[in-house]
């Protein structure tokens, strides 16, 4: 291994990479898009809110107005009132593609005053389950408060809600390590599969074989580049998570093994896959076949604990699982022993795949 040659190859590769807008997009911009998109989906951007269409058949009565005031006070709903002339609210909601509605019957106040049960009718759309949950929760909470108020009672028992790991963690905090893992997989893996197959097709490897550069030096410079890129990409994602959603990812030295070993493994795996295929087209297919299961089953977007037992077993066979699990261990759970165990597995796999990639990778034709 000659540092001067590795440095020269690193420089040329970096220049080529930085001048390629597609590479830049998928390496740096795309992870940011993901973090913003998933952050918003998982509720980090703004609070859960829904619109409720109300048909108040008892609008003149103070009790009905009192209930709607309580409902409005939950802050989770925007109340839009519809005219009584629309007739059946369910039909109105369907015709106007609306997802939630509430009918206060004309006898609402009268029955309460008579000490009789008064039922509201709530319409929700099961397809919009998130929206329905917000509406049901808000209406339920309003009814509970309204009933307590009518009974002149005081709530005695309550609940204090906390998240696992830290009292302050939210969904976005769990998403950051997963998306760093995603970035560690996608950028090096796809780039190296394509690079290896294309360079071979265009005979660039044969050309390089006529220089003193060795296969190991060439691969090392690529690993160095993608390790550097992973640090930048991780910093951007942590920054975006913190800046936009107030994520609380813990920066720790324990992340370093995963930010180094992850790209090491996936650069080598990409090169191995590219070396074993004949054309760039086949290489792209192989790259996708390897990457997609890992992308979705390793805990990138969904926690592995949410999977069934078979999928959990499969997930534990995937190298990316150990990268993400290790990042979670150091960034969220302060569990260095678990992280060390994961790092050892990734290191072992990396050495094996690096060796196999060097064996499979041919500069020249036999």
């Amino acid at each position: 291994m000659n540092p001067r040659r590795i440095g020269a190859d690193f420089r040329v590769f970096a220049l080529g990479f930085l001048r390629n807008s597609i590479s830049l997009f998928f390496s740096l911009f795309f992870p940011l898009v993901l973090i913003v998109m998933f952050g918003a989906i998982y509720g980090g951007l703004g609070t859960a809110h829904a619109t409720l269409w109300v048909e108040d058949e008892d609008s003149a009565a103070p009790l009905a107005q009192g209930f709607l005031k309580t409902l409005n006070a939950t802050g989770d709903l925007t109340l839009n009132f519809v005219s009584l002339s629309v007739g059946n609210l369910s039909t109105y909601l369907t015709n106007h593609s609306l997802t939630a509605g509430l009918v206060l019957p004309a006898t609402f106040s009268q029955r309460i005053q008579a000490g009789l049960p008064a039922n509201l009718t709530l319409y929700t759309d099961p397809v919009s389950s998130g929206n329905a949950g917000v509406v049901q929760g808000a209406v339920g909470a309003a009814l509970f408060a309204f009933n307590l108020q009518l009974a002149h009672g005081t709530a005695l028992a309550g609940v204090s809600q906390h998240n696992v790991g830290s009292p302050v963690f939210t969904n976005i905090d769990y998403l950051v390590p997963g998306l760093i893992g995603f970035s560690i997989l996608v950028s090096p893996m796809f780039a190296m599969v394509d690079l290896t197959a294309t360079y071979r097709k265009e005979k660039l490897f044969r050309q390089l074989s006529l220089t003193p550069l060795t296969k190991g030096e060439w691969l090392t410079s690529k690993i160095m580049w993608y390790v550097g890129l992973t640090f930048v990409s991780a910093a951007l994602m942590i920054g975006a998570g913190d800046g936009i959603f107030g994520a609380h990812a813990t920066l720790s030295w324990g992340m370093l093994p995963f930010l180094v070993l992850g790209p090491f493994f996936f650069v080598s795996l990409g090169m191995l896959a590219g070396s074993l295929t004949r054309t760039p087209e086949t290489a792209a297919i192989v790259g996708n076949v390897i990457s997609f299961p890992m992308m979705f089953l390793s805990g990138t977007f969904f926690p592995v604990s949410a999977f069934g037992s078979t999928l959990q077993t499969i997930a534990k066979l995937l190298p990316l699982y150990y990268v993400i699990d290790g990042l979670n261990a150091v960034m969220l759970f302060n569990n260095p022993l678990e992280a060390f165990h994961d790092a050892l597995i990734v290191a072992g796999l990396s050495v094996v795949v690096f060796g196999l990639a060097l064996l499979a990778f041919k500069w020249r034709d036999e």
Partner: protein, 317 residues
């Protein structure tokens, strides 16, 4: 004189195809050796074996005293290679490419001078993907020269280039030759070989069918020189009777075979004495291309059976 390349009974098979079928030749240090042949003749396979890019099937190969397949690490800094249709990293400029190769070979290179030498200074900072075919080949040549090699392999370096680019590359080859570099050149342009090469070998169906200097190949395999003049069939008949040399007539053109320049005067005297009209006397001789086309054509028709040729100094055996 020292030998740069020595090939003895070299063969290479791809399945049942004998791409190279027992060829032998030597290239002297400082010579320009042109390796000619039609497409699929075995040129590129031979060149790649010599460069150490492909394993030989049989025979022995020595390049600068080394086995190119097993001693590549020692050989490659001493040779420069331009493959057919040179490719490089799309986003890199010629200046950066030369700096890259200089770092790989641990050579101090005057980049501007090298770019100037291959007539590429005006494209020093243009990305490879924007260069024309000729400019790409010039960059290939520049990179091949970075390590100041003793021996250069130029595999069809001018194919598909415009006349200006071809001329620029030929000028560089001439200048390298004058510096004493050994050049192994494969080309489709026969006039290029005739212009540049000290030694020529023609390969067809994996076997060398002619070898030597251009003029020796033309002498050996070409038609004798002819005196050509425009005239009638009657004049051709008169000349046939009077000069005792083979005479042909075709479409108003008379050709009389001559051995030396002394044969010219009697022919012209006889033509003048005939009283018949004639004009435009010229002497013609076969070019390397004429010989090449004939040899390859005859071999394809099965009229010529390739046989080992007598070994000349540094020639095929």
């Amino acid at each position: 004189m020292a030998t740069a390349i020595e090939v003895e009974n070299l063969s290479k098979e791809y399945g049942t195809l004998h791409a190279v079928d027992g060829i032998s030749f030597r290239v002297q240090v400082g010579a320009v050796f042109a390796f000619l042949g039609p497409n699929g003749a075995g040129k590129t396979t031979t060149v790649e074996i010599l460069e150490g890019l492909r394993r030989r099937g049989g025979g022995t190969v020595t390049v600068l005293g080394l086995n190119p397949w097993t001693d590549g690490r020692r050989l490659h800094p001493r040779i420069g290679v331009i493959p057919q249709e040179f490719r490089f990293f799309d986003k890199i400029t010629p200046r950066e490419a030369i700096q890259y190769y200089a770092a790989l070979f641990d050579q101090k290179v005057d980049v501007d001078r090298l770019l100037e030498r291959v007539v590429l200074s005006d494209k020093a900072t243009a990305r490879f993907e924007t260069l024309s075919g000729g400019q790409k080949q010039k960059l290939g040549l520049a990179l091949a020269l970075v390590s100041d090699p003793e021996l250069l392999f130029l595999d069809e370096p001018t194919t598909g280039l415009d006349p200006q680019a071809r001329r620029a590359i030929r000028d560089v080859i001439r200048s390298l030759h004058s510096e004493g570099k050994t050049i192994f050149l494969t080309t489709h342009y026969l006039e290029e070989a005739e212009l540049l090469a000290d030694q020529v070998a023609i390969i067809h169906h994996g076997r060398i069918i002619a070898d030597g200097t251009s003029s020796s190949i033309i002498s050996q395999f070409g038609h004798p020189p002819r005196l050509r003049l425009e005239g009638s069939a009657a004049l051709a008949e008169i000349l046939r009777r009077q000069v005792a040399r083979p005479v042909t007539f075709n479409d108003g053109m008379i050709e009389v075979e001559i051995r030396t320049s002394a044969d010219v005067l009697p022919v012209l005297t006889a033509a003048q004495a005939s009283g018949l009209p004639w004009s435009n006397p010229t002497t013609v001789r076969d070019s390397l291309e004429d010989v090449f086309v004939r040899l390859v054509g005859e071999m394809d028709e099965g009229e010529v059976r390739a046989s080992p040729l007598p070994a000349g100094p540094g020639g095929a055996r």
